[in-house]
Subunit: 410 residues, 2 copies
C-alpha cells in the first residue's frame, strides 16, 4: 500500500476489540504503511476529523501487548448510523474528503451488524462514484450474530466470562444446605440471538452441575411453563440457577423486560430497545408465586468488558481478522468483511477468508434449532462442540498495583 490507512471501532465494546486494532496495526507496519490512523469514536469522530496516530501508542516494546489486554474500545466507539445516500451525499463526500486529506487509502471498521452496514454504504458510494478508496469490515460482536463467519471475535471471551462466573455463582448458591433452595436467575445480554445466553451451558463440567435451564430468545417465553419448571426444580434441588437472555419474548411479542418497566423502554440510535430487568422481574414473580428466596444477577456490561478473563483463542482470532483485513486490502479488496472459517474441532483449527459485505450487513444469525434441546431450555452437544473451543486459553493480564493495567488514549 502506498497510502495510509485508518481503523475505527464501532458499537458495543468487547473484551478483544482492541486486539483487532493491534492486528491491523501490526499487519500494516509489516507492509510498510507509513501512517496507521485511529478514528476517535468511530465514523462519527472521523467525520469531525478526530484522528490519532497509532504509532504514538504502539510503536514501542509493550504497546501492542498492553492494547491486547485493554478492554472496551481503545479508540472510543460510537453508535452512528450512516444516513441513506440519497439526499445526504455531503456526509459521504465528507468521509472521502477527510480520507484524501490524510492520504488514507483504506478504512477498516471493526463492529457488528450495524457497523458492517457502514462499510457497505461507504463501499457502495465509492463504487458508484468511482472513488479509489477501499473499505473493509472487521467482525466484532459479543452477540455472535453475524452471518457467514463461523463465529465473531468477542463472543469467545464473553462466553468464557459467562461460563466462569456462572460456575462461581452456582458454587456460591449451593453452599447452603438448606431445605428450600434459593432460585438464582442470571440475565445475559442478547437482543434477538441467544448465543450469549447459550454460553451458560458451558458452566457444566465434571466439577459443576451447570445451570438448570437456559431461556433463549429463539424460543417464545411461556411464563406458566417457566413457573412450573422452577417449582419442579425447587422440589428436587437445594440450589437452582437459571440463565435467561435479556431478549426473551412472550407470545404476544413483548419482551419480558417490558413487563418490568411497564412498557417504558428507551430506544437507541438504531431503534434497538435498551434492555434490562428481565431477571429481576422473573425473580420477583417467582418469589411472589412460590415464597422461595430468589436472587437476580445481571452480568450487564461486565460480560463484554472483562478482558482480565478473555479467551486466548478469541484474542488471537480478533488479532487475526484485523491483520487479514489489511492483507486483503493490500490485494485490492473492498466492500468485504473478513470471516472466520472453522476447519476442524479436534484439534480446533480456524482460518480466515473474505466475503461480500452485502451478504452480511444487517443480517442476524440466531442459534440453530438443532442445538436447542427439545424442551427449549437447554443446549445440546452440538452447541458444546461449537462453543467450547472458542473459550480455550488465557492471556495473563499485566497486573500493576493489584489490578490489570490498561493502555489509555491521551
Amino acid at each position: 500500500m502506498k497510502g495510509n490507512i485508518v481503523v475505527g471501532q464501532s458499537g458495543g465494546p468487547t473484551a478483544v476489540i482492541n486486539s483487532s486494532v493491534a492486528g491491523v496495526y501490526v499487519a500494516a507496519k509489516q507492509l510498510g504503511v507509513k501512517k496507521v490512523y485511529g478514528m476517535v469514536h468511530g465514523i462519527q469522530g472521523f467525520l469531525a476529523d478526530n484522528l490519532c496516530d497509532l504509532d504514538e501508542y504502539l510503536d514501542n516494546e509493550t504497546g501492542v501487548e498492553l492494547l491486547k489486554r485493554t478492554p472496551s474500545a481503545f479508540l472510543g466507539s460510537c453508535r452512528f448510523k450512516m444516513p441513506k445516500i440519497e439526499g445526504n451525499e455531503e456526509v459521504y463526500e465528507k468521509v472521502f474528503e477527510i480520507m484524501e486529506k490524510h492520504d488514507i487509502e483504506c478504512l477498516f471498521y471493526a463492529g457488528g451488524n450495524d457497523s458492517m452496514d457502514t462499510v457497505k454504504m461507504l463501499s457502495d458510494y465509492a463504487a458508484a462514484h468511482n472513488k479509489p478508496q477501499r473499505f473493509m469490515g472487521v467482525p466484532k460482536t459479543i452477540d455472535n450474530d453475524l452471518p457467514i463467519t463461523d463465529h465473531c471475535p468477542g463472543y469467545g471471551s464473553a462466553a468464557k466470562y459467562i461460563a466462569t462466573s456462572l460456575k462461581e455463582v452456582i458454587r456460591d448458591n449451593s453452599s447452603f444446605g438448606v431445605e428450600k433452595p434459593t432460585i438464582l436467575i442470571a440475565e445475559i445480554m442478547g437482543r434477538n440471538a441467544g448465543w450469549l445466553a447459550a454460553a451458560a451451558a458451558l458452566a457444566k463440567d465434571v466439577d459443576c452441575e451447570g445451570v438448570d435451564a437456559v431461556y433463549l430468545p429463539e424460543r417464545t417465553f411461556d411464563m406458566d411453563a417457566f413457573m412450573a419448571k422452577v417449582k419442579d426444580l425447587a422440589e428436587r434441588k437445594s440450589s437452582v440457577v437459571i440463565a435467561v437472555s435479556e431478549g426473551i419474548k412472550l407470545s404476544d411479542g413483548r419482551y419480558v423486560c417490558e413487563l418490568a418497566s411497564e412498557g417504558d423502554v428507551a430506544v437507541d440510535a438504531f431503534g434497538h430497545k435498551q434492555m434490562s430487568g428481565t431477571a429481576a422481574y422473573l425473580a420477583q414473580a417467582v418469589a411472589a408465586e412460590t415464597g422461595l428466596k430468589t436472587r437476580a444477577i445481571e452480568f450487564s456490561t461486565l460480560q463484554r468488558a472483562a478482558t482480565h478473563l478473555a479467551s486466548l483463542t478469541d484474542i488471537n482470532e480478533a488479532f487475526q481478522v484485523g491483520h487479514d483485513a489489511v492483507i486483503a486490502a493490500e490485494e485490492g479488496k473492498t466492500g468485504m468483511m473478513i470471516t472466520l472459517d472453522r476447519n476442524g474441532n479436534d484439534p480446533y483449527q480456524c482460518g480466515t477468508s473474505v466475503y461480500d459485505i452485502h451478504a452480511i450487513a444487517n443480517v442476524e444469525r440466531t442459534v440453530p434449532d438443532e442445538w436447542i434441546t427439545e424442551d427449549g431450555c437447554g443446549l445440546n452437544e452440538g452447541y458444546e462442540k461449537y462453543a467450547r473451543p472458542l473459550i480455550m486459553g488465557e492471556l495473563q493480564p499485566l497486573f500493576v498495583n493489584g489490578t490489570p493495567r490498561h493502555l489509555v488514549r491521551k
Copy 2:
C-alpha cells in the same frame, strides 16, 4: 494434639474461605493429627453428625492447591444461630457428644461476626461445664467488619474483584464520546460497614480516572445532595460511574433499597435484611429526574465468589489464619480468634496473634471517619494505604476446558 479435629465454614462464602480450611488441614497434618474432619454445612450439619474426612480430598498432590482455587464453602456453609444456653442445654450437649464420638479435641470455625458468636457460646459452655474440648475462631468475611484484626481474609479478594471490575466497567462506560454521559451506578455489598464499597476507590490508577463518587453506609444518604452531585458530574463529564453500598440509609433510618421494594424486604435467620435494588432504584430516580441514560450494575454474589481473581495476599493470609489457629489450639488455647496484625506497609508485612473471642463476637467495625473525604463520598490516602496491599498478587487458576477447575465434595 492427641485427638482429632474438625473444621467448619459458616456464613456468606468468600473467594478464599477454602484456603483457611487448607491451612487448618496442613498445620494439623504437620502436627500429626490423625483425622481432620470437615463439618458439612457448618455447625448445623455438625449437630446432625454430618462430617467428612478431609484426607479423602486433600491427601494427594493437588488437593490442597485445588482447594485454594475453589470458591465458596467447599464444606458447605450455614446460617445457624446457636440458641441461648439457658433452656437449650441439649443443643450444646449434642455438640460435645458428637465431638466425643469422633474423639475431636478441637473445633475450628471460619466465619464472620455471627460465626464468632458460635465459637464464643461453645467455649463459654465448655468453660462453665469443665469440658476439655477447645474452640477456635478463624476470621473470614468479605465485609471486613470484624474488630481487633487489622483486616479479614476474604476482603482483599472481594476488593480486588471490585476494583478490577470497576476499571473494566469505567472503560466500557466511557467508550462512547457522547455529549450526554451514561450514568452508571454500581451496587456493592455491605450492610452496615462500607469496607467493600470503599474498595471502589482502588479502581483509580494512572490508567483509570476511577469512580466519581462512593456512597458508604457510614454516612447518611441524602437524595437531594446525590442528585445535585450527579447533575454536576453529568455536565462536566462524558462518563459518570458511581459506587453505592447496598447498605446506604436515609436520615429517617430506612435503607434506600427499602424504597425500591416498598418496605417488603426479607429477613434472614439473624434478623438481617436481605438487600438488593439500591442501584436500580437510584438509576431509575436519576433517569426520571434528568432524562439521562442510566445503568445499574449489582456485583451481587460475584464479588464474593470470584476466586478466579482472588488476591494472592488474601489467599496466603486465609491459609495462615487457619494454620495458626491449629498452632494456637495445640498450645492449649480456646475461646480465641486468630487476628491479622499489620507490621508495616512498605513493604507490607503482616503477622498473626490470638485474641479473646468475647471482644470480637457480635462487634462490627466500620470504615474510620478519618479515611472518608469531607464531602462524604470518597476515600482518602489513608484508606488507599490500608487497602492497596490487600489486593496485591494473583494465584493463577487451573484452567481446564476453558474455565477454572474447582474441588468438589462427593
